[in-house]
């Protein structure tokens, strides 16, 4: 018997990606943070930016929140300085202060492929600092973007609550 959970697990990233039209954001590792912020502003749906090298291959991901934090620690420093209470936070602050490019701020190059499943994506997205992932091909070139919201909608559809969304599920008679 197919349950919403089993349907959700086996849904591919390609199918999930089609639910919402969120364009991916791609920047180069050596792009300055102003350029990165402008790119994020031009594509407001994506919350994680893909960072690529000169061959357009994924080398890192940069959550928009991380970019905001970095910029705002210079605007409202008191909010950040007061929260530093140990050596690790101190060193992280120093690293943030010195960040000038996307490459300085990016995280490891997490991604999924079109043929991967929602389960694979959730395993990677199950951390508080990442709310979306770039979709890459076999050569690690960015071909799309999958957001946590799309994962949520996969489950909603599988539960048959499509009336809210106007779609159809297999469960319909």
């Amino acid at each position: 018997m197919r349950t919403p959970e089993s349907i959700t697990q086996r849904t591919t990233i390609g199918e999930a990606d089609a639910l919402l039209e969120i364009e991916s954001i791609t920047v180069r590792a050596d792009d300055d943070l102003q350029h990165v912020a402008e790119a994020a502003g031009a594509h407001p749906g994506a919350r994680v930016i893909a960072v690529v090298d000169h061959e357009e291959r994924l080398v890192g991901i940069l959550p928009v929140q991380r970019l905001v934090d970095n910029i705002y620690l210079k605007i409202v420093p008191e909010e950040f300085l007061g929260a530093i209470t140990d050596v690790e936070q101190t060193l992280a602050y120093a690293r943030n202060m010195g960040a000038r490019t996307a490459g300085d701020l990016m995280l490891e190059p997490l991604s999924v492929r079109m043929e991967d499943t929602v389960r694979d994506a959730f395993a990677l997205l199950h951390r508080p600092d990442i709310s979306g992932l770039p979709i890459t091909d076999d050569e690690r070139r960015v071909v799309g973007y999958i957001d946590q919201l799309e994962l949520l909608l996969v489950w909603v559809r599988a539960c048959g609550l499509e009336t809210l969304l106007g779609g159809q599920t297999e469960g319909d008679a």
Binding site: E78, L81, G82, T85, D86, R100
Partner: protein, 421 residues
């Protein structure tokens, strides 16, 4: 193999492992101490008897206090307020930050000082469009000079104070004057030492006016309670003779009192205690117990007497300069732990505590010589590197060596005038 040779070999190997940093120093020290037991040089009972719990609990108590105070944002408030009062003028800001660092180091541990002062420094330098390098180097130097001033300012002082029965007041009256003189001379010299770094765009000075230091206080109520408890703890140190209480008891009372009134979660608070550091001390005490048992200390003490002819003045100078030089390149904690029984032997029959003050000054001030001389040095240099302004070994050495030699010269004159004339 004779016990002396075996014990000495264990000691040297342990020391080498600590200095090389190939394995964690806590593990090296504990292993060295345990090997002394395993090979039968000392028994477990003898090893444990040598663990100075006054030191352990004094450190633990102060770590708890510092861990809670860190959360209040008080030093950030102080730094920003002071920087604004300095009018954004770089040299004045350097002076202000160094003084704050020295004060913090005199009362709290080095790690806390770095956490409190480091980020603010990076931020102020960035706001003014300046390199943070002179400020960070200045703070490194100030932290070691300031830490020398009090019983609780530097771990060697805590070790010496406990072994020689020298209390908080004794440290204030003997170490504070020379610490103040060294600090004053350093701040005057800093204008010349860092002369290329102080040009600031006048427009950027006004950027400091945007800052609101009140926002730095994250827990006002906790701050009030912390300052009261810290004040009472310091008063306890000052009057511990009248109270007939050891420093460790006072520190623990302060820590427990603050946990009580601040209603901090004990599990969270205890995470602030640097357990590896405490076990490092425990390992060292056991190691030194073995070294005492095999007679290595007598050999070292006799060697010192042979070198100086038993002359107090010569011995004091030897201790001061040897400690100063060695502390610049090796961890001053195991060095001090090893030298304490030597100085105990050399001090027998002495009227004054001059040898103890020589050891303390050398061990504390020597930490300024190199990047690896003290833990605060390592952390602040790491901070600079992460922010994109690395401080090289030789770059720091130019400043560190100058300030160290200057401080030791001042200490030489001080010791001579105060204890030997």
């Amino acid at each position: 193999m004779s016990p002396l040779l075996l014990g000495s070999a264990i000691f040297v190997l342990t020391y080498a492992l600590i200095a090389s940093e190939k394995i964690d120093k806590m593990i090296a020290a504990l292993a060295g101490g345990l090997v002394m037991i395993l090979v039968g040089i000392i028994s477990q009972e003898e090893a444990f008897e040598h663990i100075d719990f006054n030191v352990i609990f004094l450190l633990a108590g102060m770590m708890i206090l510092a861990g809670i105070i860190r959360k209040t944002g008080v030093f950030g408030w102080l730094a920003i307020r002071a920087a604004r009062l300095a009018g954004g003028e770089p040299y004045r800001i350097l002076v202000v930050l160094c003084v704050i660092t020295a004060l913090a180091s005199a009362l709290l541990d080095n790690v806390t000082t770095v956490v409190l002062v480091g980020p603010i420094t990076l931020f102020l330098a960035a706001r003014l469009g300046l390199s943070p390098v002179p400020f960070l180097i200045g703070e490194i130097l100030a932290s070691n000079i300031g830490g020398a001033a009090t019983l609780i300012g530097d771990p060697p002082n805590i070790l010496i104070g406990s072994a020689a029965n020298l209390d908080f007041v004794a440290f204030l009256s003997n170490m504070l004057p020379v610490s103040i003189i060294c600090m004053a001379l350093f701040l005057v010299a800093a204008r010349w030492l860092f002369r290329g770094y102080f040009t600031v765009d006048p427009k950027l000075r006004d950027a400091l006016l945007d800052l609101d230091e009140r926002e730095m206080i994250t827990h006002p109520e906790l701050l009030r309670k912390s300052l009261i408890v810290l004040g009472l703890t310091l008063a306890g140190f000052l009057f511990h003779g009248i109270l007939h209480l050891e420093p460790a008891t006072i520190a623990l009372v302060g820590a427990v009192a603050l946990m009580l009134v601040a209603r901090e979660d004990p599990a969270e608070v205890l995470q602030e205690v640097e357990w590896p550091t405490l076990f490092f001390f425990i390992g060292l005490f056991m190691l030194v117990a073995g070294v005492i048992e095999v007679g290595l200390i007598e050999v070292l003490a006799e060697g010192a007497v042979a070198l100086t002819g038993g002359d107090t003045a010569a011995t004091a100078m030897l201790l001061l300069w040897l400690s100063g030089i060695l502390s610049g390149v090796v961890d001053n904690i195991p060095y001090t732990a090893t030298m304490i029984p030597v100085v105990q032997q050399l001090s027998e029959g002495q009227d004054s505590d001059v040898l103890w003050w020589s050891l303390a000054l050398g061990a504390d001030l020597g930490g300024n010589a190199t990047i690896i001389g003290a833990s605060a040095n390592v952390i602040l240099v790491n901070l600079a590197a992460r922010e994109g302004h690395p401080i090289g070994f030789w770059q720091f050495l130019r400043y560190g060596l100058l300030v160290t030699v200057g401080s030791l010269l001042v200490s030489t004159v001080y010791i001579w005038l105060r204890y030997l004339l």
